[in-house]
């Protein structure tokens, strides 16, 4: 394993009641990388994402973030390690305005760099600036996704976790969002770990990728390798519905 692993997931098992959702998963994300996790519905991708955040908690295994064991930490403490998340289903605050949503994101940073960071989010997603006084719940799906990512960025994260940023969005918006992620990675060196069903887009974007099947990581490699892999092609790219 590379010495510079920012996030290290080792042998993690997660259960929902008696049902095992993760079967000893090993994943590592290095600093400055974009890592994609792809897999079918119910493979356990989102579960892994949530387990990193401590809810549900891993029953076995170990999760470390820049050298600190975060396996048993409460969720909000994990977030304070500067891991930000754009969760599944976006989970923006519907009755609060775009501005207030961004403020909530910045509360981790104690609002110290609020104006500067908000400006950065608005350059990344100009649409949000137009909607600044609008309630989160009245935004379109794509705008909500942008807000969700923007809110996560306000915390000045070292690691950004994205759970299906392309879910339910038009291809053009998906492209916008993927471009933004690439931009963040290139200019700020932001480390991104993303879960996607849109395997083609995600693997093209990512430096490395993992393939998950039934709670196990079955394949890993660079984005290009996985794209070329015949099994991956057969399962996720050709004849796929995406």
């Amino acid at each position: 394993m590379a010495a510079k692993a920012l996030l290290q997931v080792e042998g993690v098992q997660t259960y929902y009641g008696n049902i095992r959702a993760l079967n000893g998963v090993n994943v590592s994300v290095n600093e400055g990388e974009i890592v994609a996790l792809i897999g079918a519905n119910g493979a356990g991708k989102s579960t892994l994402m949530m387990t990193i955040f401590g809810s549900p908690r891993a029953r076995a295994g170990k999760i470390t973030f820049s050298g600190t064991d975060i396996t048993e930490m409460p969720t909000h403490e994990i977030a304070r390690m500067r891991i930000a998340q754009s969760p599944e289903g976006r989970r923006i605050f519907p009755r609060m305005t775009v501005m207030e949503n961004l403020q909530m994101g910045a509360s981790l940073d104690n609002m110290r760099h609020f104006d500067e960071d908000a400006e950065k989010v608005f350059t990344l997603f100009p649409r949000l600036k137009e909607r600044i006084a609008q309630r989160g719940g009245t935004l379109s799906g794509g705008e909500q996704q942008m807000l969700s990512i923007g809110r996560a960025l306000m915390a000045r994260p070292k690691l950004l976790l994205l759970d299906e940023p392309s879910l339910g969005l038009a291809p053009l918006i998906v492209k916008q969002i993927f471009d933004a992620i690439r931009e963040l990675n290139k200019t700020d060196g932001l480390t991104v770990f993303l879960v996607e069903q849109n395997a083609f887009g995600a693997l093209k974007l990512a430096n490395r990728g993992y393939v998950m099947v039934n709670g196990n990581v079955t394949l890993s490699g660079s984005g290009a390798e996985l794209l070329a892999n015949p099994d991956v092609r057969a399962a996720y790219l050709e004849g796929g519905r995406h």
Binding site: P74, T75, F93, M96, T97, E100, S107, L108, I132, A133
Partner: protein, 464 residues
Amino acid sequence: MVQAVSTNRVEAGSPFPRAIREALYAGAISFGLFVLLVGLKTDQNIRNELIIVQRWGLLAIFVVLTMIGRFIHVAFVGPALEERKRMKGKAVPVIAAEPSYLRKNLINLSIVGLFLYPVAIVLLFGFQGSLKWVDNFGIQILIYVMLAWGLNIVVGLAGLLDLGYVAFYAVGAYSYALLGTEFGWSFWILLPAAGAMAAFWGVILGFPVLRLRGDYLAIVTLAFGEIIRLVLINWREVTNGSAGISGIPKVSFFGLISFNVSDDNYIAKVFDIAQSGAYYKIFLYYLILLLALLTAFVTIRLRRMPVGRAWEALREDEIACRSLGINTTTTKLTAFATGAMFGGFAGSFFAARQGFVSPESFIFLESAIILAIVVLGGMGSLPGIAVAALVMIGGTEILREMQFLKMIFGPDFTPELYRMLLFGMAMVIVMIWKPRGFVGSREPTAFLHKRKAVAGSFTKEGHG
């Protein structure tokens, strides 16, 4: 008459035949509803036997009133509303006019009005005549405004459904009653003490319910309210049980001016004016007004601070909150504690005003009324809640004044017994027309530059 086709069975002509038919239906339904509720009444006669009293006259009045109401609604109100809707659809959108001076300063003006209210009442009715208006209307309504604003922090902002809020009111009231009568401490020391005590119990309640939300939380808080009440009834050595505590000392004006006739610094002696109980009531009115305004001020301030924002975010989405690094445990506990503290303040004021407390005053119905005010007013909206308290509490007080109703319903009619009916009616009406309460929209707390700039860009958007 194109769109009428879908709703009505084409009543192109006069609506009267349909109105008469609907009125008859409504009459039949109300007869069925009221025949047991109003028409028959169980009572005890002199020999303590249960007898049935028949009240056909009253029943007939109820049924006839319902029929008239339905007739008017179908024949006149309905068509008028339809007409208005059609006009609205056709009307060119009016360019948003600058709100008038009155509208912009409505809140400031009403606060000034509240400060002038006792003066106006005294000028109108004299000191003796003012008692009823200042006490029954002013103080009574303001207590509920304050309680509802306090509960609003828990329910409206943090989104934690609390059905046992009256427990904190009780804790505050008994704190003042017990410490005031036992040790003779002043109200001004015990007011913060009562608030702290209630906040402490707020945290005690908060801990076990941290993981609960919605219905489950409601049930546990309901039980908590009952536990406090039952403790007050059964812990006789301390609380004197259901007999309550009497002789609770009055509030003084910071020890300078007293409202006890026997004291040397009694207000009438200090200012050399005639004795009257009205001075104390007017003093209490200003006291509760200031306490309520303090509640509002703190709420408005907190909403703009991280903790207040965290409360609102918690109401919106708990999981998102946690992943943004908000400690939901402390957030919930501060919400419970802050809400409970204001309940405690109101409680100690209540004890000082009544001079007597007993568990009777802290029944579940009180919690329900306070919660109803918060919901009807629009969760989170301070002006909406104040209006709701005015309507609900003022409405029930006004019912007492409506003695002329006896001319319609007969001399045995006691209007205030129907206040629950009024409550229910108000709720149904608000839920139909304003499902989010009188003031349903949430006022944002964050603006990029100035408020005006945002409003300006909004109107532009509307035109484009």
